[in-house]
Symmetry: C2
């Protein structure tokens, strides 16, 4: 014990957990690819699956996570559900990631 611990003010645990959950949404390449597709416009589930060459179910599962995080919206048109980006932050968050890894 040479010195008393410096006092550090961390945000409450709950907020840190929410922050970590938020970032882990971007921590999966399928979800990033979905977001990049939707950056180009509105698409229904089957289209996204076809573009990414993946099963419809896998895409649907991921869309649910993105929707819960309020990163995408959906709109029904006939039998189709069209998904689109819900948030303007998405672009800038991804951009900052790109910036970091390209330095």
């Amino acid at each position: 014990m040479t010195e008393p611990n410096r006092k550090i003010n961390l945000p409450p645990e709950k907020e840190i957990d929410r922050l970590a959950s938020f970032f882990s949404i971007f921590g999966d390449s399928t979800r990033i690819r979905i977001l990049l597709v939707l950056a180009d416009g509105e698409f229904c589930v089957a289209d996204i699956a076809s573009i990414l060459e993946m099963g419809v179910s896998a895409i649907s599962h991921q869309l649910r996570i993105l929707k819960q995080a309020q990163l995408v919206r959906s709109r029904r048109n006939g039998k189709n559900l069209f998904y689109s980006l819900a948030d303007s932050h998405v672009h800038s968050i991804i951009s900052q990631g790109v910036e970091h890894i390209n330095e």
Copy 2:
């Protein structure tokens, strides 16, 4: 086949994978807490462990991940290794996450 698929230009798979790996580093609350501690200054491993009330080994494992991602640096002083933030992006990336979850 009613319509040809719209052409979407995604970044190469390798870059998307690196992006996902980068974001998943922020997807763990221990690592976020370490980064927030280091936002206050330089600390050695045992101090971080004490502040976060965790084992030294757990912190060391996470610091290795943060260092590989070039988010922290270390500097030896005697028996101690002092860690500090390596990158100015860290603040703004976390800030953007906070912004999103508080809207």
